[in-house]
Symmetry: C2
Subunit: 254 residues, 2 copies
DNA sequence: ATAATAACTTGATAAATGTCAATTTTATAA
DNA sequence: TTATAAAATTGACATTTATCAAGTTATTAT
């Protein structure tokens, strides 16, 4: 996938100003002087290696995080020792918004590959939003989007067949790669089949079978984590969700 | 249930100051002078009758809403003409937070009974939060809580048996009644079995059978919408640990 | 490079839940 | 009130997906 990227992912010390993720991130639609202020409160942490944790369940909530490069999964442990994967997080996406209410992280965030993040201390961010209405608005928008996205997933989990779930998952990933300037038809999945199954509320075996079937039907090519989408239209039909709403929610500016 | 209520639900023209829902609502932890300011931007709408709409899919987003009395359901139409119920909303709970991002309501809000709401124009609210850090913080907290709650539901839909889903649903409703000063062990459900099934990602028939089984096992008394919870502990066990407790429950009775 | 481990795939079987159909009960409207 | 429609329940059956088991392929560590 690396050779297919259209934009460069920000390396560890680039400022918001120079960051290619600006349009997907908090800085969207804030400008020069204000951007510098935001930039000043952001801490750029040293990259996480695969399987390292960004935060654990119960960790005190101090900051929200934005993925700069790489990817993470978040998951909540259940009473009976299982895990429920609640999301995958690609560059430009926020983590930790679910902890503001309680002051503690309700889930674990674990790097799926070498991953670097920006840390945004929440108190400073709140102070900053007091004098920057556009920043506040952007924060609210991003939180709202997360609520909206979660509801889409609820719909998926509640109503859809295994086939539709995997289709929707692949389309979602594809779309998000596209928004980040990568190919939407060929990419590497950083998460395991197990993670995908868990996220979609299915057994690993079911997911594996679906991958095989999609490949047999010529809809995709899947060689382990390397995915090529051959037939976007069929995939959308199978997913049975409105790609419209998804696009609008992601690209439209309020 | 009406004769069991501990607090009075606010009637249509009571101010935030006098409102019994203050501690569950946006005003939480803001005081006198500031409360008046919030109070001033809030519009108290005339009550909705059963089956009337608060907003429709695609309605422009101008305001968020707080339930004063009664209840609503929100649902999203799917591409194939189905509906997915995304939530039930009791007094003190917010609606419309999922529309901030796109500027359009992605779901329908429909009254389940005679229902009155406070309308809070979002622009005014954003302005107000600029000078009221505590109000901003409370808004962020409530949005965060919604994200958190949605993730809980995702977990339910992804991982749990029908038994666990209905248990968790009943416990959730019970808890929310309790927080509002009503009995947590005896209440009326304002939503139909169909709505519950849809919300939980189950067939109506399955929900109906579960109600019957819970009743046979003495866990609850369910006469249509009138619910009495007899055995809270078992219900919690069922909600938490699906596989194990399920077998116990089966051998216990059958 | 090789062994050990983890991830993935595939098949057979079982279990849970959905679907269809019929009936009863409750709610709504004439 | 009675007629009509809607909601809820129950049973029989079908289907999807989970589970169990085995084997294969990749990844990691020695």
């Amino acid at each position: 996938m690396r050779d297919r990227k259209v934009i460069d992912l920000p390396s560890s010390n680039v400022s918001c100003n120079e960051c290619s993720l600006q349009q997907l991130c908090l800085p969207q639609s804030i400008n020069g002087n204000e951007l510098d202020k935001l930039d000043n409160i952001i801490e750029r942490k040293k990259p996480l290696k695969r399987n390292e944790y960004l935060f654990q369940v119960g960790s005190p909530f101090d900051s929200i995080y934005v993925v700069r490069s790489g990817s993470l999964k978040t998951y909540s442990p259940t009473i009976d020792g299982q895990e429920q994967v609640t999301g995958f997080h690609l560059p430009g996406e926020l983590l930790g918004l679910d902890a503001i209410g309680s002051g503690q992280h309700p889930c674990v965030a674990k790097a799926l590959e070498t991953t670097s993040v920006c840390e945004i201390p929440f108190e400073s961010l709140e102070e900053l939003t007091q004098s920057m209405p556009t920043l506040q608005h952007q924060l609210l928008r991003l939180m709202s989007k997360e609520i909206f996205d979660d509801q889409e997933l609820m719909l998926l989990l509640g109503k859809k067949t295994a086939e539709a779930r995997l289709s929707a998952f692949l389309l979602s990933i594809s779309l998000r790669f596209k928004q980040r300037g990568f190919s939407s038809t060929e990419f590497y999945l950083s998460m395991s089949r197990n993670d995908i199954a868990n996220y979609l509320g299915l057994a690993v075996e079911t997911v594996s079978r679906m991958f095989t079937r999609f490949q047999e039907d010529g809809i995709i090519n899947a060689e382990r984590k390397h995915i090529v989408i051959n037939d976007w239209d069929t995939l959308q039909q199978l997913a049975g969700i409105s790609q419209l709403s998804e696009k609008e929610a992601c690209t439209k500016k309020a």
